[in-house]
């Protein structure tokens, strides 16, 4: 579980996040949603430790980020997995090498064990027929699946996904969303997904944090968001004419 207590993030004169309080639950798909420019990516990068917060604290399973030494932070980083918006696969490596990479770099497992573990996760994301392919030879959806396998191969406690279904067709997007949700439940990971896709919100939003202009406006579940009663949330959720009509 991740608890966020009154965090603020400032870049020079502009405050991007202001006094954010939120919690992200273990074994659930937690979503950060909001319009472009609302501060979602900065918030996610703060949770990852890629941005240093100016105020407040982030508590990872009882351990406050403010009380961690550099060594603790490095160890915490190794308990995190990340699925990037553009997949961020290593171009020169095959699917198998990409998934095995964190094991090669960070563990002292035998070669066979690493191979076995990487193959287990590749199989989990249904890419066993593409293990020798390079990222350039894969479709966008397949690249995302490799990225998910690579992110979870180290059995992380925390999984962060930055718009994992952006650029994908609606059907593939739902497959990716469902895959993340299944893996989250199966391995009891605290998953935080950055998204502005309403399909994802409805499909997998077990815990949703809504941001606007760097402020947390609302937190709830996918069952509650359609009837939140909050004007700003409604403005975002019902921004499409189609959804309005459906309502």
């Amino acid at each position: 579980m991740i608890e966020v207590k009154s965090i603020s993030k400032r870049f020079e004169e502009s405050e991007v996040l202001t006094e954010i309080n939120a919690h992200f639950q273990k074994g659930k798909t937690n979503l950060i949603i909001g319009q472009s420019g609302s501060g979602k990516t900065v918030f996610l990068k703060c949770l990852l430790g890629l941005h240093i917060i100016n105020k407040g604290e982030i508590i990872y399973d009882g351990k406050s980020s403010n009380e961690m030494s550099d060594f603790d932070k490095l160890n915490l980083r190794r308990e995190m997995g990340m699925v990037f918006q553009g997949s961020a696969l290593f171009d020169s490596m095959s699917v198998l090498e990409n998934v095995r990479f964190p094991l090669d770099m960070l563990t002292s497992l035998a070669k066979d064990e690493k191979e076995e573990r990487a193959l287990k996760f590749i199989k989990r994301v249904n890419l066993q027929d593409a293990i020798n392919k390079l990222p350039a030879e894969l479709s966008g959806g397949m690249q995302k699946r490799v990225a998910i396998a690579r992110a979870v191969v180290m059995n992380p406690k925390y999984l962060f996904c930055d718009e994992p279904n952006s650029g994908l067709d609606p059907k593939t997007a739902i497959i990716i969303d469902k895959l993340i949700q299944e893996i989250t439940n199966e391995f009891q990971i605290t998953t935080v997904i950055n998204s502005h896709d309403m399909n994802s919100v409805i499909e997998i939003g077990e815990n949703i944090v809504f941001l606007k202009d760097g402020l947390k406006i609302w937190q709830g579940t996918n069952k509650e968001i359609l009837n939140s009663g909050n004007e700003q949330v409604n403005d975002f959720v019902y921004s499409s004419e189609l959804v309005k009509k459906l309502k």
Binding site: L50, L74, F84, G86, A88, D91, P102, M105, L106
Partner: protein
Amino acid sequence: MVKISFSKSCKKSILYKQIFKEINDLVLDSIPIVSILSFFIGGVVAIQMALNLESPLLSKTLIGFATRQSVILEFSPTFISIIMAGKVGSYITSSIGTMRVTEQIDALEVMGINSLNYLVFPKIIAMLLYPFIITISMFLGIIGGLLAMALTGVPSEAYIEGIQTDFDGYHVTYSYVKTLVFSFVLATVPAFHGYYMKGGALDVGKASTQSFYWTSIIIIILNYIITQLLLA
């Protein structure tokens, strides 16, 4: 950047693999272009020397002497380094820059890997073999001069005698000192431009151009400083 790239080392086996890959990409792959350039430029230098030393009062051995001095002191260490700023420097900047743009460097950092150590350190170590390329360049430059003289009708004996005349080993030492300094510049300046670049694909091209610009300028300025310190 250099300090961080030498700290928090990745696993040794991974680093060795990366170093061998970089030796192949940066050093071995550069041998063909350096060989061709050195051979022909050596020939041109010898022909131009011959053209300027037509007086019967001047010994033909001076052609070999002047070609050797030009190639060892300046052409091989400095001008080959500027050409390498284009070849190796662009490769380093664009490969690291593309990794930055496509979030691959962020992916390394999120995994808790020191990305500078993984990406830049092997390049610095691989470039320690750069003097090997310059040795080939010196040898082929002088051989190119010999062949050009043979085709021009200058006796080979005079050229060979010339390249042995007043040979000073210190000049070779000076040349290798320059080469080692330039090898560090060739690995680090382009890596800096690639690693700290911002923007998209178009900016990778701009960063490569900037990297060549600054690497060349730094090499030329260092060339002057080292020459002032060691030869003046």
